[in-house]
């Protein structure tokens, strides 16, 4: 048996190192985060609109959803939705006469994290829309704009400066929450790291390496969001 690879070699690419496994895990994490974030945003827009303009019924449903999701730990929610969601779906499929299907871990992760993110985005977007001076929307109505045109031309661009900091926070949270998917056994960055660390017994090296990957994702995103914020705030006075 060849000598065990030491510190720098274990992080190299190829059969002896775990560098490629870690990077593949990181790619998985980022894609889960991106898709879950998008799904969460879509749920968030629908939720915010229903909270602000919906009927009593839809408002109650949305309120229940955001309260429930935000009061239960993400990890527990992920466990419940992951196991209960797949089991319910299979039961429904079976009772409808189809065979049970194995649900892809990736898809389940995206759906579960998106569902959780949706509740938080709902609150961020609702607060941002409420921060728009009401006169701007009234003026748009007075011009005879249709509701869709008002949303596209007034509400959306006017709320973004209020929403971007909260949305940036949510993105940072979802990139870190992808690590929770490791607990249900899908190989993203955290689980890949743990497996590599367990195989080589070099726990410290691998967890620090994965930490650096997560940190660089965070720092790059922060840079991106600050550029984005400058862009949506163009023409506004600087905050003191």
């Amino acid at each position: 048996m060849a000598a065990k690879p030491g510190f720098p070699e274990v992080l190299s690419f190829g059969p002896t190192g775990y560098g490629d496994e870690l990077l593949w895990g990181a790619a998985m994490s980022v894609s889960i985060a991106l898709l879950a974030y998008t799904l969460g945003l879509m749920i968030g827009i629908a939720g915010a609109l229903s909270k602000l303009y919906g009927s009593t019924l839809t408002r109650t449903i949305t309120q229940g959803y955001t309260t429930l999701v935000r009061a239960v730990p993400e990890l527990i929610l992920i466990l419940i939705l992951y196991y209960a969601g797949t089991a319910t779906l299979n039961q429904l499929l079976e009772s409808a006469g189809f065979g049970a299907i194995a649900i892809n871990g990736f898809v389940a992760a995206v759906l579960v994290l998106g569902f959780v993110q949706g509740a938080y985005s709902t609150e961020v977007l609702r607060a941002a829309i409420q921060a728009i001076p009401i006169g701007q929307i009234e003026a748009a109505k007075a011009y005879g704009m249709s509701p869709w045109l008002i949303f596209r031309r007034i509400t959306l661009p006017a709320m973004l400066p209020f929403a971007i900091p909260g949305l940036a926070n949510l993105w940072l949270i979802v990139t870190k929450d992808t690590a929770l998917i490791a607990v249900v056994g899908y190989t993203e960055l955290a689980l890949a790291t743990r497996q590599a660390a367990g195989n080589t017994k070099m726990y410290f090296t691998f967890f620090v390496a994965a930490g650096l990957i997560y940190l660089s994702i965070t720092l790059i995103s922060q840079k991106g969001f600050s550029v984005l914020e400058r862009r949506v705030r163009r023409g506004q006075r600087k905050l003191a």
Binding site: P73, L77, L79, Y83, A197, K201, Y203, F207, V208, Y214
Partner: protein, 266 residues
Amino acid sequence: MNIGIIKLLVKSAVLLLLAAVAIGLIYWLAAVSQWGWVAKYLPLLIKGLWLTVLLWVLSCIFGIILAIPIGLVQVTGPWWLAAIARGFCTVIRGTPLLLQLWLIYYGLGSLFPKIAMFYPDFRQDFMWLIRLDAFWYALLAFTLSFAGYEGEIMRGAFLGVPRGELEAARAFGMSPWKVLTRVWFPRAVRMVLPTLAGEVVLQLKATPLAMTVTVMDLSGVVRNRITQDTYIVYEPLMLLAVIYMCLTFLAVWAFSIIEKKVPQKR
């Protein structure tokens, strides 16, 4: 006219769907779900709840104690202390807590043999450290995490105290320490109080992570004991969700009382 009919249809469809979900849930709770295990595991669950609360409260208290100097040195400290504090906050806030927990639990543990190479008596002298329960590793990880997040908030609060008040305190001849304890710190604490409730709830929701390093907190009891012994999956998870929800609302309620007690004059 047409739109009215469509609206009515959509509304009744939503109501029907809700009713179906509610009936399904009630049917499941009444006829399908099993709750016999609760009696048998009640002592373990109570022990787990105690551990969860302990982990939560202690990590918040130690975290805040750590956060105060971390916030303060970023505002007034020498540049190298400020840089260390800022770096600490960035690293803690930029990496998943799960990873930090694993680094501390597995990583520190894996360093012990290396230390023993340089310090042969390490095993005898620090047996207590090697035998340490996973709980203490989890407490360390959660404390550092809370300190990182709260340190950033404390920095903002220290910065947010109006300069005039500090200058007035100095003009009265107060020593720097007195300025800190009589004016700067009390004012900063009042500023963070509203955000503190949210942070404390977030911390509660982070504690289930401890079950991944064999801590027998509430989630650990449910996942690593009850589900593995009885193969019952959903009912214990439901119970968990309800208990965490109760704890969340309890914390929010407690903080609303504290906030009312503290005078807020601006």
